[in-house]
């Protein structure tokens, strides 16, 4: 018996058991394969007996399974659940407020701080002492420009400051 014949037999047997054959085909098949008819009869008897006498076992812990199923449904459906969608005007107002806040942050972070810098801005391009006995240097400290003159005479208490 070749494989193709075997498969053909199995297919025919399946159609026979499932009742898909016409009466003529079934009769021919039973004639050709009498054991198949006996097998079908046996199977149908067993199936009828099982359906008649077997009971469906009662489901234990039904609440637990219900809870698990509900939880699975909830977790699966939550990402696609509809969320609050604000009206366009409200979204526009929110975007405008965010832009204003950003602009204010940029202004106070960069522009305003730069505007304060020139408060103590001094640029000395050239500096020289009045005579050879003096020496001068520019000191920029604490945001203050100081022309430091060395070589000046000490002024005694008799020197009147007016």
């Amino acid at each position: 018996m070749s494989n193709s014949n075997l498969f053909s037999y199995e297919e025919e047997m399946t159609r026979y058991v499932d009742g898909d054959m016409s009466p003529e085909e079934a009769a021919a098949f039973e004639t050709k394969h009498p054991e198949a008819a006996a097998q079908k009869l046996t199977d149908s008897c067993i199936g009828n007996l099982l359906r008649k006498h077997s009971e469906i076992p009662p489901l234990q812990h039904a609440e637990f399974f219900n809870h698990q199923i509900l939880r699975e449904i909830t977790s699966t459906s939550s990402p696609s659940s509809p969320h609050y969608n604000p009206p366009p005007l409200l979204r526009f107002a929110f975007a405008g407020t965010a832009c204003l806040l950003a602009a204010a942050g940029i202004y106070f972070g960069f522009v305003a701080s730069q505007e304060k810098e020139p408060e103590f801005a001094v640029q000395i391009t050239e500096i020289k002492a009045g005579d050879d006995q003096l020496s001068v240097k520019l000191i920029e400290s604490e945001g203050l420009a100081v022309v430091w003159v060395d070589g000046l005479d000490y002024l005694p208490d008799t020197y009147t400051l007016e």
Partner: protein, 145 residues
């Protein structure tokens, strides 16, 4: 008509701002307070930067011995005599919000320093002058508005 009025107001305000700029100079005596001495008030003119003066020079009491103020016009030369002993010669040219200066500091008849600088408004230029028996003399120059 209203536009013309607005333009006039703007022009007047601009010229007023420029005319309000003035040069100010002061001779300051810097000393140290005695422990028993009460806290003295800081001169209002020095208040904006007195803390910097304290840090730079190490003195904590500043007394203005004399000061002088003159209005600053564009491309003008001014002589400032804050005290009988110290004076300054200033030639200024305004450029944007600052002044290009040519400045000379004098003590009696002696010229101490000659400098060219660019100075912003309300920005002090401090000259450390001679030491006096009473304390350190400073000459402060500033353009105010």
């Amino acid at each position: 008509m209203n536009l013309l009025r607005c333009l006039l107001v703007i022009l007047l305000s601009v010229s007023t701002v420029s005319a309000e700029d003035r040069v100010w100079s002061a001779v300051v005596l810097a000393t140290k307070k005695k422990k028993t001495e009460k806290t003295t008030e800081v001169p209002a003119e020095l208040a904006p930067y007195v803390s910097k003066l304290v840090k730079v020079f190490g003195y904590d009491r500043f007394e203005i011995l004399g000061s002088a103020t003159k209005s600053m016009d564009d491309q003008s030369e001014r002589w400032l005599v804050p005290s009988q002993n110290f004076w300054l010669g200033v030639h200024a040219k305004k450029e944007d919000d600052a002044y290009n200066l040519s400045i000379e500091f004098f003590h009696d008849k002696r010229r101490l320093v000659e400098a060219t600088a660019k100075l912003g408004l309300n920005t002090p230029l401090v000259l450390r002058g001679p030491m006096h028996a009473r304390g350190q003399l400073l000459v402060i120059f500033e353009i105010k508005n």
